[in-house]
Amino acid sequence: MKDMPPLPRRSLIYALVGLWAFAGGASLSADDELRFNRDVRPLLSEYCLACHGFDATKREAGLRLDVREGAIEELDSGEVAIRPGKPEESELIKRILSHDEGSVMPPPETGKKLTQAQKETLLRWVREGAKYEPHWAFAKPQPQTPPADPRFAGDFGNPIDAFIHQKLEQRGLKPSSRAAAETLIRRVHLDLVGLPPTPAEVREFCDDYASRGLTAYRERVDKLLQSPHYGEKWGRWWLDQARYADSHGYSIDAPRSIWPYRDWVIQALNRNMPFDQFTVEQLAGDLLPKPTSSQIVATGFHRNTQINQEGGVDPEQFRIESVFDRVATTGTVFLGLTIGCAQCHNHKFDPITQKEYYQLFAFFNNQDEPEHTLFPDGIDAASLKKEREQTLRLLDDAIRPYESKLEEWEMGLAKEEQEKLPKPVKDALKVDSRKRSALQRATLFAAGISKNAQSEKTESSIAELQNKVREIDRELSKGVNTLVLREKPEGRKSTVFIQGDFTRPDEPVQPGVPGVLHAMSVEGKEKYDRLDLAKWIVSPDNPLTARVIVNRVWQVYFGKGIVETENDFGLQSAVPTHPELLDWLAVQFMKDGWSLKDLHRQIVCSDTYTRSSLVRDDLLDVDRDNYLLARQQRLRLDAELVRDVGLAASGLLSPKLGGAPVFPPIPDGVMTQGQVKREWKVSQGEDRYRRGVYTFIYRATPPPSLNVFDAPEGNSSCTRRNRSNTPLQALTLLNDAAFVEFAGALSKIIERDGLEVAFQRCTSRKPTEPELAVLSQLDPFSAARVLLNLDETLTRE
């Protein structure tokens, strides 16, 4: 607070009286406990802490409100912000109630204003003693006992429902009934494998469900979790967070090969790799004892940073940019914290100092950024390389006797003769004769000497050796490169950078973790490395990671998380709508060995998940945006799934898994939007019809049909996709050549199997009479186009 003359006492009393009258203060009863974390902290954080918080350098009037000691201490001005129990003597209360522009808090220039009810909350809090609690997310999730009331148990007997139902009951709300069988099966197919069920699958399930009820549903869920397409659907969820794309970004945006990392993610999810291991391998696979090739590929996670290849750059500057990105991404993805904010200054809201930021930075400042080559099964690269060396030595020995003859031949070559020689020979001749490799000399030998060689035996043995080397090279060329991290043997020194500017190094730092979180300690180790960091992240003592991950899975199923700020669990975070449920899920997740598939099963096999998504009038006023989950939510499909559903409905989909990214048709002229025009050679055969997750992503010129549906370009970590709804999406579905092609294929299905089947392939349900009436007025191609454009086709209901 700025130094201001104290407010006249009279006006404060009027203000207080007015406020009590407004809030009906007399009716407050003792058992309605005000909870600091739920009711007060969000207000302090939003309105006060930017100037009266953790960051001492930006603290106004010496007042700090993020801890109680600071709030109740006498200020330099002689005032006290909070006198517990005595609002009328508390400067904070005076200031928030003030009508004077110069003294009111928050100051008008911030554009922020407390509502009457918020003022009342703060007033009541101070009156009741101004109790603080530690921030919920920085304390370990506690085991929770689900509400035992049998009314809340639900059909699945799933504790999730007990938590949800209890809250609904408290608000006097009834949950919606279960969705229809065909809605259910489409929902769970799209959510688990990202593809709609076929009409046959729908029929089969509906019959099974009619006779065996939820057992049929549970079995279907188990089957889907075993499908290899599960990894494709949920792999994309992870690739968003990993900021994956197939090019270097910035201005040149050259293609890169890092798809083996993408396949690693898909396979790891399909094998249900425990999330703690999944984390360790990606952050520090190279530091594991005797790392496997797969563990090295996993470190591609932090190679998804961009590389600036434009002329005139300082490579160190952009290396450091990548390290900044790695710190920020690690914070966002695994901790749900905006650590990146402390790059230039102490964090404004969360207790993270700039120095602590650079301690985290130090973990990521010690790597080389090489490529790792992967070979298909059956190719043993190490022994092939050895064999190659041996063969070259033999070749060398075999040619040595002909050195002088070779020289003679070379000297005697006329210029025009030389011109006529094949290219490999000419190339070999261009190399200084002392520097020629055995292979080059063998080439020259074949061209110049072998015709009149003395011994046919020698000649054939040289040719044989030469062929062998070529053969080995052919095998070795089948390797695929992928970008990985490799720890440097000698550490780079890390320092704080003043204002985040790498040309202004300050105090040296060692790798370390923020003091507000659990401690890092590894016995017998003085200097920590990335592996220690990775293990620290998945430590059971970590209050954040399990919560952050279960929340981010939850939001896929319901459109938003239990904590709506899915990328910020710090002091500015949204209050969890169901804090006990969040903790229960997090604890259960760790108890289940960090099994993502178990988590998915836990969520989708619940009453809450399987409810109808129809909007209810009675909820509009009380819970319009469905925070309490009385119903399910209609959600527009992610960009890749819009494509996948079109492909599946029209019968064109290639189910092929993994491999190099593909180039489905895109409109002309897209690739000219970046500095360098990149080639987009449309894939042939089934690669034309692969799932969206396999489409090649150039960061500077992202594929438009994915881009308009909010697919991220991999420029920064994306923890929740926007769901925009725009005219360009309409134009894409109506006119894009790919969708026209889908419509062509679907129209054949209409001709063959009828409109009803086509409608089912898109929506998994039968059309109503009026719907059929509209469609049957159209020719098959138009009807197919209509079906692919329906809101319902693009939506998980």
């Binding site: 905006t338 938003k560 990328n567 209609r634 925009s724």
Partner: protein, 486 residues
Amino acid sequence: MNNDLRSILDQQLQQQTRRHFFERCGIGVGAVALQQLLAQSGLGAFSETNPLAPKQPHFPPKAKRVIFLFMAGGPSQLDMLDYKPALNKLNGQPIPQSYVEGKRFAFMDSSHRINLLGTRRTFAQYGETGSWVSDLLPHTAKIVDDLTFIRTCKTDLFNHAPAKLFMNAGTGQFGRPSMGAWLTYGLGSECNDLPGFVVLQSGPRGPRGGAILWGSGMLPSTYQGVPLRNKGEPILNLTTPEQVTEEKQIEVIRAVRQLNSMRLEQTGDDEISTRINAYEMAYRMQSSAPDLMDTSDETQETLDLYGIKDPKESTFARNCLLARRLAERGVRFIQLYHTNWDHHGGPTENLEKHLPEISKEIDQPCAGLVKDLQRRGLLEDTIVIWGGEFGRTPMGEVRESTGRNHHIDAFTMWFAGGGFKPGVSYGETDEFGFGPIDQSVHVRDIHATVLHLLGLNHERLSVRSQGLDFRLTGVLPARVVREVLV
């Protein structure tokens, strides 16, 4: 539960709901001015869900739209607009060490040098204001009294792609909205048959950085810039597929609408009405965008004003004309990229040959645009911005021919219309044009000033993401440069 606690919970719920609504729908500023759109669209209740519906600014605006003429690559202010006779006097001498001490430049390890390079151009003073302009810009010279020059623009980053991002998004970091996205988010669009933010390109190649320069960052893609193309379809997928007649297309759109309406009735989900709206607008765009691109209704006199020789040819001049047509139609933010201004002195990018060529490509069209807007009464509420991502050094580079390196300490941009004070030259550079001797104007200040003219307080135009309020001008201080405003 007691009423009081319930009201507290309600309050909180509302707060969260609102927060989510802001994020999702971007109705973050002021009230929604529905009436206008309702009247235009005749769509009644559906319009409520249009995220591009016009919104009230924070205070009465001077300007309604922006045309940003982006000279991609970094034009050489010292050969065009910032006259420094000392450079010619000391040509070839090293710049005093005090200027460059501790500074970093692009190409430090190769062609960067410290010897001053005099300009080869002839400068003269023009207009009542006596502004210095070189012989490269004879048409611009004629309108100097209508322009506002800021000669001490400053940016933070000296490589192209990061600096372009900086000029557009106020940061070199990825994932933030560009200025056009901020404006359509903050103000909506006044045009219901074209996108609110349009990008046009000309020159030998696309701008470095590509789509991220007009990206919407954490805002929904509704607000991202839509490239309008001069060749082929103006907007990707705008054209009805070849095998489909217009009648069939209308049939399809009508049937989609009918079926979507039925589903809306069954589910009650607002998103379906938004989608119905989107199809309406898509359909309108199918005819309005080709209308926009068809310049056959322009007079020869107008074409001449812009220096357009062949109106079908895709040039910067044609894009300037299109910019005026877009402005007339109420598009909020129109950005023209023209490449390539990166005159280092290489064989294809030098000051002798290539700078004059590219200057000629833009000089008359820029002046023509300002004049055309003026005579049509559009300049009053349209801001025209001219400039690149940075300027160029007073020192020459050592390459095959003459060139200058990237320079971020002081460079010239000009502004016109929309509340900028005409005939003003603001900020003065030192004798070599290296740094400001007064009033440095940072990119953040430019952003704050432009937002201000559009009625937006740069500290209040924000979006909540990761628990933080992000702004175009970021967290460091930014000021409205009131000295250059009417």
